[in-house]
Symmetry: C4
Subunit: 363 residues, 4 copies
């Protein structure tokens, strides 16, 4: 089977992953409307391609928070990579370094931050944080990440509680016995004390361990813990974008958690427009969700994103051939992005929604 585009990897993963793992990765909240909208919204955007602009050289490198990456596509934080490939996040880290891009490691990794660091020394990595009720656990994670050379701290803002993913409920999803949320081992007393595994949640953590009382003021608390730049992930409105800037973050990831949290919020590429407008260049804005082709990357950039992050496609790559498969995915996106940029005439890309002209480009 030729791996020509990202859907080929999706088809492979669906075929070869255990159903419970496929369902977990594919899951969206409730009716999966937002998960699917993330993709459909890209298809509604039209390029305005420009001709005869000398595209013999197409430089697709960019910088995010000062670090150069080979092209504006990083790896979004997703959990439990060992469900996709035995080496888990270690493979992810290696692939990201090989392709010279950024990998955001999740709190819910099945490898420790130390293992991830050791697997690919020198790679550009950010650390994604969920804030748990024992704040000390989160504090310790942040400080470990900084000490290990992670270069950014990504605070996920859209998961005070886990969204309702029907297939996971039907499957009774739990991590297999040999996998753990390793970064949090020892962080909770409850689970230790609990006589039976059943008192713990499906990820092997105590139930309700996430802290739903987090507010904007906790950005100051995080700031007090680390000198790392803080990127907030999960912003979907201009109002929250303004609040994020005012509270001093360095970056914003426009995200709806792959449609896994609140169903029927906006597609991320649609929300990106208002966030970019609100931010007015004061901090960098990124976007994840729904990226399936190189031209999606170009659309996101044309609408103001500095870089995009891929979630599920990275997992499909891992499922295909681990580190190598993920590199294949990234390489395809890279080639498609470079080609789209050349065919669109490089700079001049704009948005048509339902035949309505949104942005015009100067001659």
């Amino acid at each position: 089977m030729a791996m020509v585009c990202l859907s080929d990897f999706e088809a492979y993963a669906k075929k070869y992953l255990p159903k419970i793992a496929w369902d977990y990765f594919a899951a969206g909240a409730d009716d999966c409307t937002t998960r699917d909208e993330n993709i459909l919204a890209y298809k509604r955007i039209r390029f305005r391609p420009r001709m005869l602009r000398d595209v013999s050289v197409v430089d697709i490198r960019t910088k995010i928070l000062g670090s150069e990456i080979s092209f504006p596509v990083g790896i979004a934080p997703t959990g439990f990579h060992q469900l996709a490939w035995p080496d888990g996040e270690k493979s992810t880290a290696r692939a990201a370094r090989a392709m010279n891009t950024c990998y955001i490691a999740s709190t819910y990794s099945t490898c420790t931050l130390e293992e991830i660091s050791a697997a690919a020394p020198g790679g550009l990595r950010w650390f994604q944080l969920y804030i748990h009720r024992p704040r000390a656990a989160s504090q310790q994670l942040v400080q470990r990440a900084e000490a290990l050379g992670f270069q950014g701290l990504v605070l996920t803002a859209d998961l005070p509680y886990t969204g309702k993913r029907r297939d996971d409920v039907r499957n009774g999803f739990r991590l297999p016995a040999h996998m753990k949320v390793k970064n949090l081992e020892g962080a909770f007393e409850v689970c230790k004390m609990s006589p039976s595994f059943h008192d713990c949640s499906e990820y092997g953590l105590p139930p309700n361990s996430l802290d739903p009382s987090v507010t904007w003021n906790d950005i100051y608390w995080l700031r007090s813990l680390t000198r790392l730049p803080i990127i907030i992930k999960g912003i979907l409105t201009r109002e929250d974008a303004e609040l994020a800037v005012r509270h001093g973050v360095q970056g914003i990831i426009v995200s709806n958690h792959g449609g896994r949290q609140l169903d029927e919020g906006p597609a991320t590429i649609d929300a990106l427009v208002e966030v970019v407008e609100a931010v007015r260049g004061r901090v960098e804005v990124y976007v994840d969700g729904g990226i399936r082709k190189g031209s999606d990357v170009l659309k996101a950039l044309a609408l103001g994103a500095k870089c995009v992050f891929i979630g599920r496609p990275a997992l499909w790559g891992l499922a295909y051939k681990g580190e190598e498969g993920l590199q294949d995915v990234l390489r395809i996106l890279q080639d498609e992005f470079r080609l789209s940029m050349a065919l669109a005439g490089k700079y001049f890309v704009c948005k048509w929604v339902l035949q309505m002209f949104l942005h015009a480009s100067p001659i």
Copy 2:
């Protein structure tokens, strides 16, 4: 089979109910366009979720006409619950009380108001009224309801004649011999005098027994009969909302009778917007039709409803396990509603229709 969301109950009911009962409950008028639009219209509305708002406590209790209910979902009036479960409306009354919410008992119940009251003493209940040609029959019903402790009188305004539900015509729908519109037993002379059952309509009532000459002035007549608050059900336009307020009702249920009356009127969630605008807070506004998820409840509230009512989903719950099944349905909606509210950031919910921004929320 795991019962994870309301569609699971729908699938169960479709499988296990007699076809004639399923068809009767599922029926919509003519092409069923409005019945289906009720659901589709919710899917076109987009949340604008807000982040980091401390959602550790989410209080979902509310009050309707002064009575507290555990969350803003009540049971809409629907007929013939014995078609779904042997105990019929008695089970419905018990489930509503157990979940501490409001149950609107229908004129077309297969249990008497007295049986319903006795089944769940102390429960919050309203009584739904059709006005029949012998006005004395309706007067007697209203007064029985008041005497039995029902706390509201719901006048259905959209059924001067019964809509054309094709499947009911094809099935030759009639109540099974052992079920009756018990509340109206003895109310009509015609049927008694009639030598054959065939002179009666499909519900065992005389044909054309509904009074199609009802007008707004009959609100004054009802007011003269009872001290109960009067809620009018079936309003779909700003003009009628204004008339309802002027005629002194205490509440309005925006409803199209589940799409069973006039086909190709508006979806109720769309009509809600203009009714709420017209009413300007002078009376409480509720809505029914198309509620299938907790987030639908949140959308209705965000657009101005004080509470929603569920019709068919309650019947599916009854069909599944009677009182217990209906509690399951309510509990799922409750959990989903609480979660949606938390994930949307509690207060800040708005409406996007076809990517168009309708309501903005302040920072």
Copy 3:
């Protein structure tokens, strides 16, 4: 099989008519986009139903050009009724008279005007005219119709040439040997002189016998031939509506010939709006195409039509049981129309297109 709505008759006709006849009646031009749009456009219109308006009496009679009919639905001109039922147009005439409505007999009838008149003396009938190259033939037809008591002359304006109906071409559609365009027998020399039937067109007429040079001035010519009111059929724009009024017609039928002529023109119910606006009440406006339910009739009236005409549904009725089947179709439409009118609150009907509010109704 219960005949509950018009689609039941359609299904019957599709099953029992010879394929070549079904295809001929069902045919639309090219991709059949307009044929299907005629129906879809009705589904996009939303009622604004009003409540509590005393609908105990619903009078659905109306007058067209001064003649009373039992409800605002007449029989549009369609050709070759013997393809649907042996008695052909004679059955149609009888059914229309029995239901007390208007039947527009086509030039392309398989019975003569004399046979049609004799079949149902006293019925309200108009005569539909195509203008053929030998103008004398058309003149004679008009004068026969007037002499026979037809009360209106309907000039079809949208058929200078026959549209391209792919299935008819594939089927090599021709009238069966025993059917003829009887009204035109003897009208053309060419066919008589022609040694072989193959020189004649598929209807047994000479090829290119229709006159494509007809202009607005020919209205004056028609006026000079007859005192009958002239109704022009096939108008789709405000510009042509204005021209029709200026040239002195008494009525306009907004029509696209059932989508059989130019594909991808507007649906008739959409075109009706601008025609009604342009006409400003100076002449009566009717509409045909896409009427499948009583509520479609109500929508057309709400948007300004004085009466609608049905084409294919009448043929389905004939195919079902001749005169009796057509009466069934009309009776169903009548019942549905009366019910829709009552449920919509009688007068207050308006148009929503894609959620956009077009016409508001006063309180």
Copy 4:
């Protein structure tokens, strides 16, 4: 099988062509969104047909750059006609001449320009140019074309690199051994020097032989090489249309290369509107992509195109019966176009998009 409309030829070609050839002709870039949009966009446009305008004579001849053609449909440049029919472009040239229309021969022909000229002396032909890195090769082509009597030079602007056509990648598309890009034989040193065929691209040319550094200034270079009128193909925006006029071209073909280059740019019929507005009659504007019916031609003309060009339908005609099949395709389009023009009332055609009225026509 009756060949009634263009889709019949499409079905035939899909059935009888080798899969690799069918896939190559059918291919669109990436998700094929733009390829399919080219067709769908026509279906969204509505005519405003006018009646009674004397359409007894419908003259469909037109002129492009001063040369008369029998109707406003020419043959767009497409590659490798021998994949469709053994005689390849020679058949195309003969069919175009027989139908008295214009044929744009592609650089990527499988016959030489000399063979094409000899096959149909006196036919109206333009030559389509890709600019390759060895500019001398392109210069020689232009001068050969002019010497052979080609009457226009069409510069393709949208192919600095070849689009990503997934099926071609999957199929490992290559020209069969006995076919060559004959016009370029001997033009490249690299291929000759290359020891193995595999160093060459799928068309038997050196990889990356196209020159992606072409800019607007190269129009001046082309102008210096030839006195032929220059037509630029691939313009999709008003900005580029203005640039084209300023750089002195004689014509513009609005084209997205049949959706084979950048996916998710605009449909050509949508882009036509803004190009025509920008050009304000200073040069002739043509359009290709998505033409499948005579009424599509009329829509394009109504929106300002002087002539349209067909790509894939011409190949389907060749695949059916070579020169004769292509004539069939053209004749069907011609008949359909003439009929549409008559039924639309000749001049008065306009655009409705999603029920919105764009252009009104005077009475």
